[in-house]
Amino acid sequence: MDFSIMKKSTIELIKLTASDGMTLTNGETYSKEIYLGVNDSVDNWREIPDSEVPEITPEEIVANGVAKT
């Protein structure tokens, strides 16, 4: 049997998970967990309290005619 076509590769994923009551953000995206892209850095992300995560704005609610549920 020819094993020359076998290939071994390693997958590395860096996952950041927010602490209880906190959310991860880079200033633009908000999430409880993220998987870092190869060009991204842990330093670009910080934790903020869930209460500080931006809600949909009143202008957007009016524009869409329904309140956020």
Binding site: L13, E28, E33, Y35, G37, V38, N39, I56, A63, G65
Partner: protein, 230 residues
């Protein structure tokens, strides 16, 4: 002709006359509403309509789809089927404004939506809470279109989406679309622009439920192209 015969003839043709009248009314309305097929600015054209009344006479080559089907709702409605029934085309290939195009509509399925020339996509499908399938969402080939984080806001029933073209910028958020199939998620990931070998970092929001559907290897397809998955 005797009066009796006249009355008989009238009675025999009543339905034909009625149908002819209806057709005339249909033609008059749609000729005006679609400018005899020449209309391209469909801003608000069907906003607030009951979908059952959407029976266009002419194909639509749209350059402005702002609010086009906003709040077009009633019973759940397959837009692709209706266009087929009416034998008309809905073409967005030259459209630049998609603000709230399908916002709060009750469509279950939309066909090919070409956003490759879009300058505005705010809430294009936002609050389309019946939407299950987007046949083909076409991005530009250079990945220049930036999302607004609201295009799929509350598309809670969305299962099927095929992406053509390149997603190259931040702001595409599928967090509310927890029913997306695995194939749909892979279509999104495979459309991501490859930034490996650069210092560029981009972010795609799928949400925890969707992330859990992907294997590590599948997530790595995105992360190794320079995309952070949230």
């Amino acid at each position: 002709m005797s009066l009796a015969k006249k009355l008989t003839t009238i009675a025999k043709n009543e339905q034909k006359v009625f149908e002819a009248g209806k057709q005339t009314e249909y033609d008059m309305f749609w000729d005006a509403h679609q400018k005899n097929g020449q209309r391209t600015d469909y801003d608000g054209a069907f906003g607030g309509w009951l979908p059952v009344n959407f029976r266009p006479k002419y194909s639509m080559y749209v350059d402005n789809a702002r609010y086009m089907f906003r709040m077009c709702r009633g019973t759940k409605f397959d837009l692709v089927e209706r266009l087929k029934q009416m034998d008309v085309i809905l073409d967005f290939s030259n459209c630049s404004n998609f603000r709230c195009t399908f916002n709060m509509s009750s469509f279950t399925r939309v066909g090919e939506i070409n956003i490759s020339k879009a300058a505005e996509t705010d809430y294009i499908f936002g609050y389309a809470t019946s939407l299950i399938t987007i046949d083909n969402l076409i991005f530009d080939e250079n990945g220049i279109l930036k999302g607004r984080n609201n295009e799929f806001h509350y598309c809670t029933e969305l299962q099927n989406i095929k992406i053509t073209g390149v997603i190259g910028q931040n702001g595409w958020n599928f967090n509310y679309c927890e029913k997306l199939t695995h194939d749909s998620l892979m279509s999104i990931i495979n459309a991501l622009k490859d930034y490996s070998g650069t210092t560029t970092t981009k972010t795609l929001t799928l949400g925890a439920t969707n992330l859990a559907k992907l294997t590590s290897a599948e997530k790595a397809i995105a992360t190794e192209k320079g995309w952070t998955l949230a």
